[in-house]
Symmetry: C2
Amino acid sequence: METHFKIGQRKNRGFEMGENQNWRHIFTLLKLAEMGAHKRTAKISTEFLARKLGISQQSASRRLIELDRKGWIKRTTTPEGCLIKITDLGFAELKKLYSNMRFLMEASYPPSVTLEGVVFTGLGEGSYYVTRDYYRKQFMEKLGFDPYPGTLNLKLVTDYDIKTYSELEAYPAIEVEGFQNENRTFGPVRCYPAIIENKVKGALVSALRSHYNSSVVEIISPVCLRKALDLKDGHKVKVEVLTLP
Amino acid sequence: METHFKIGQRKNRGFEMGENQNWRHIFTLLKLAEMGAHKRTAKISTEFLARKLGISQQSASRRLIELDRKGWIKRTTTPEGCLIKITDLGFAELKKLYSNMRFLMEASYPPSVTLEGVVFTGLGEGSYYVTRDYYRKQFMEKLGFDPYPGTLNLKLVTDYDIKTYSELEAYPAIEVEGFQNENRTFGPVRCYPAIIENKVKGALVSALRSHYNSSVVEIISPVCLRKALDLKDGHKVKVEVLTLP
DNA sequence: ATTACTACTAAACGAGTAC
DNA sequence: TGTACTCGTTTAGTAGTAA
């Protein structure tokens, strides 16, 4: 069984709200479920649903039509009301919301935190480390991508970002093992999947024994971030760091 | 400690949506929590929030203003973004939704089911039973009301209602103990809190050894339901039966 | 960069009503 | 009773832009 975390396969925690009006529908579904429509076919009049939702009968009717069209409920209209059953597809939506919320309410850390830092050119060691085979294999296996041979160095400038980064250390990370070859020892590395500038997937990597202090972070990515995002030294970069479920 | 269930004190499972547009705000709160704003003051730009919500920056800004006004978040605007912390009040909203959902997803029965039946005049025994002191005391203690001396008899007419009622028997109920006096034995009674015709609180009572078959239910209430709802024999009545947490 | 105002557009809603 | 259509109203959302 694959227990390692891969970005490519990562289930989206955090609701996808691309087409965002789903909220109404989710809440309507929730109400229907409260009347038992997730377990059994429930007879629910549009008027009754309307009262529960605090909207008019007409709007309730329309929502049912929409839910039906989405395939989230199966609906049969009869002269005495609607027979409604939430479909597997609809129930899956509720489960998604529920598991999001469960994580939120029960984890001691947030699903994601955002850091901002300023690009600078480091000693060029990142490239050397990232290309060590023992590391590289683990990155591919555990992060799901082959890192571009180089790291993007970011200097955290505000107290807020430094504090946020220090809090991050308490959250679970993807642990990449250290190793040694004939010449020297390579320490373990902690990785957090991340999204850079809202666009590019990658990971924040944090060597346990870093040559930088705690106000510097290093980012790896399958692509060259400097090129992909047209970054130069001094540019400010936003990194959304994802914690682990 | 009071462990008995009382209708008057019953916590509302099922979201109250009197003023219903809270949905937007709850979802916005959810997103903010996903960025950690429930644990710590998070720096979140309206633009970033907007992307997460799938709405415009302007709308995100307005939602933050509204949440602030509701007292659900504490917000400080700075030139680099907003510093946002979800307040206890706001977090309570999320917890409410979460506990509703947990009950929904984890219980094997729905929070409420609705029955419809036709009023008929019974043998008049209901009044006798309800006024037996040993029962009456328990009703007051466990249901939180002193029942009007009489029951409303409803005949379930559709297969749907009869089936629903039979399912109800598997759900946990408020158990009222039986007893005996010098003359005879009074059996245990199972009660479910209920709302009659969307208006009046009461309870569905179900004697374990009923003289009626399973297509008849009896309702008690602090008031005379026939008077309060102007019911006559043959009228159809809707009863929303609440299951127990 | 940000936030958030005003003015306008689009979408959701509800009243009336047909069936 | 029920559901659900049309259509006018209300409300949420966006664009442009000032601070």
